[in-house]
């Protein structure tokens, strides 16, 4: 581990991409060879789901690679696009009325681009308060001008919440790229990768653990599978993954990497749990899939844990380094 830390940046990156794409190719080949066998319908469905997830990971890896080559501004733009698509999906599944038209326009075409512009401009103080302070006022004002009191609080709260999750939360991921950490110039992308990996590990391990353990769910009406033990196993694995990635991080000791992994992974899966509650409320099982009227692509499902974990992780890192 220690020797890895002393490699030059470009060597580390080379190694990282070789490992990442090597793993992906391996998994894809295995998955493909398994399709050649006959299997039951349930297995087929599980396999289809796995294929969808695998495709998402491929897309993510390629995007990561592109953003690495193209630099901070382009990756900020890419995150902005993902934010846009996630918010689009969120708004589709909430009930807005005619009077919300202008506030939605404000959210999509003013708030979202401005937030990412602020990130790209490295104005971190403004970036943390822009949405919770200024947009918090602006959205209900525009909504009230829409002259429709029916379910006003509910509608406004939903729009605010969508902005908080899909724009504010998400924008903390590219903000990591631009953090000025000690001895860590030009390596922000590693921190983003670290975050994405630990969150994904927590999610996958928790899912697998809850299937094996069959514990009594904590909140059956919301999630049939969420239990505290499965959550702890997921977060613990995230901590372990974080420790293994220590060489790529700016943290001062392996323990720092472990604890950050725990924080990010744990909050990501809790965020996923919250999203499940939200889906139940909206009456859909999964944002994507056949249940949804509008054929939403299921992107929100994938990025929600990241949206919740990113701000927590971002501020933990700032606090850790005292910047």
């Amino acid at each position: 581990m220690g020797s890895l830390r002393h490699l030059s940046v470009s060597q580390q990156i080379g190694l990282l991409f070789v490992v990442l794409f090597g793993l992906l190719i391996g998994v894809t080949v295995i998955a493909f060879s398994r399709t050649l066998r006959d299997r039951s319908d349930a297995q087929l469905e599980a396999h289809e789901r796995f294929k969808r997830d695998l495709r998402a990971v491929w897309v993510g890896a390629v995007l990561f690679w592109i953003s690495w080559i193209a630099g901070g501004i382009v990756s900020t733009l890419l995150f902005g696009l993902v934010s846009f698509l996630a918010l689009r999906e969120f708004v589709t599944l909430t009930h807005t009325r005619r009077g919300d038209h202008r506030s939605l326009l404000l959210a999509f075409f003013v708030v979202l681009p401005l937030q990412y512009l602020i990130v790209a401009g490295e104005r971190f103080n403004l970036f943390t308060v822009f949405i919770p302070v200024y947009v918090f006022l602006a959205i209900p004002v525009v909504s009230a001008l829409g002259n429709d009191p029916q379910r006003f609080l509910e509608r406004t709260a939903k729009i605010q919440w969508g902005i908080m999750v899909c724009v504010y939360g998400m924008s903390h991921a590219p903000a990591l790229l631009l953090l000025d950490l000690p001895d860590y110039r030009d390596r922000g992308a590693f921190l983003v990768l670290y975050l994405v990996v630990v969150v994904a590990v927590a999610q996958i391990v928790q899912e697998a653990a809850s299937r094996r353990l069959r514990r009594r769910p904590v909140a059956r009406a919301i999630s049939r599978s969420f239990s505290w033990r499965a959550w702890a196993i997921g977060a613990g694995s995230a901590a372990l993954a974080g420790g293994l990635l220590y060489w790529s991080t700016p943290f001062k000791s392996p323990w720092g990497a472990v604890i950050m992994g725990l924080i990010a992974g744990g909050s990501g899966t809790l965020g996923e749990f919250v999203m499940q509650a939200l889906k139940r409320d909206a009456g859909v099982r999964s944002w994507g899939g056949k249940a949804s009227v509008t054929g939403a692509v299921g992107l929100l499902d994938r990025v929600a844990p990241l949206c919740f974990a990113a701000p927590v992780f971002f501020h933990s890192v700032r606090w850790y380094f005292g910047i």
Binding site: R98, L104, L105, F109, V293, T294, G295
Partner: protein, 205 residues
């Protein structure tokens, strides 16, 4: 590539970015045959949505209907409807010696597919308004052309009547089983059946 093609591709890309423009085909796969699509009508955006949901090779042979007085009133509107969409122009003022359906018949004789909104105007109710007779006359005159019902979902949220900027919200177009006129079916009966076929697609998922 010429300018209208590029503009068309750009427009389709924007429509997809804003609405997703998902086409779901139940009962009739997208195919390069002559067809008449008919759908509910809630927004100016309806046509663009159907057009963007079609596979790109079907777009050039599928034509919308445009009101001549409105869509030729400025050079830009005229250019968009003529060059990008290849629209069929109809006049809203009825004159005695001219059949308002004649331009549509002409296009069908020519082998093109059409998209029509038989409600005649944009509605803002949950259910579509009663269908106008035009669909019946087309079905009568071209019995061999399949009539495909389509339900456009959510588009009224994208651009409500009176607004100009669309909000990004996912929409879908559900295409159903082809319909044909029965022998001896009355005008009223057929139009009601067609309207029900469109509404039935609302719950097909």
């Amino acid at each position: 590539m010429k300018l209208p093609e590029v503009a068309g591709l750009a427009l389709a890309a924007v429509a997809r970015l804003i609405t997703g423009a998902q086409g779901h085909w139940y009962g009739a796969p997208p195919k390069a045959e002559q067809r008449i699509y008919f759908a509910n009508h809630q927004s100016h955006f309806d046509w663009v949505l159907i057009w963007a949901a079609l596979p790109s090779d079907l777009r050039s042979v599928t034509r919308p209907i445009a009101a001549r007085d409105y869509w030729t009133s400025s050079r830009l509107k005229h250019w968009i409807t003529r060059e990008i969409f290849n629209a069929v122009y109809v006049s809203r003022q009825r004159t005695d010696d001219e059949d308002p359906l004649e331009p549509l018949m002409e296009a069908l004789r020519h082998g093109d597919s059409l998209v029509i909104f038989p409600e005649g105007t944009r509605g803002n109710k949950v259910d579509p308004a009663p269908f106008k007779a035009g669909l019946f006359h087309l079905a009568e005159a071209f019995p061999e052309v399949p009539l495909i019902p389509a339900w456009i979902d959510n588009v009224q949220r994208v651009m409500p009547k009176g607004e100009v900027v669309p909000v990004p919200i996912l929409c879908s177009v559900t295409f159903g089983k082809p319909l044909a006129l029965f022998a001896g079916e009355t005008k009223h009966g057929f139009l009601e059946r067609a309207r029900n076929a469109v509404m039935a697609l609302r719950s097909v998922h």
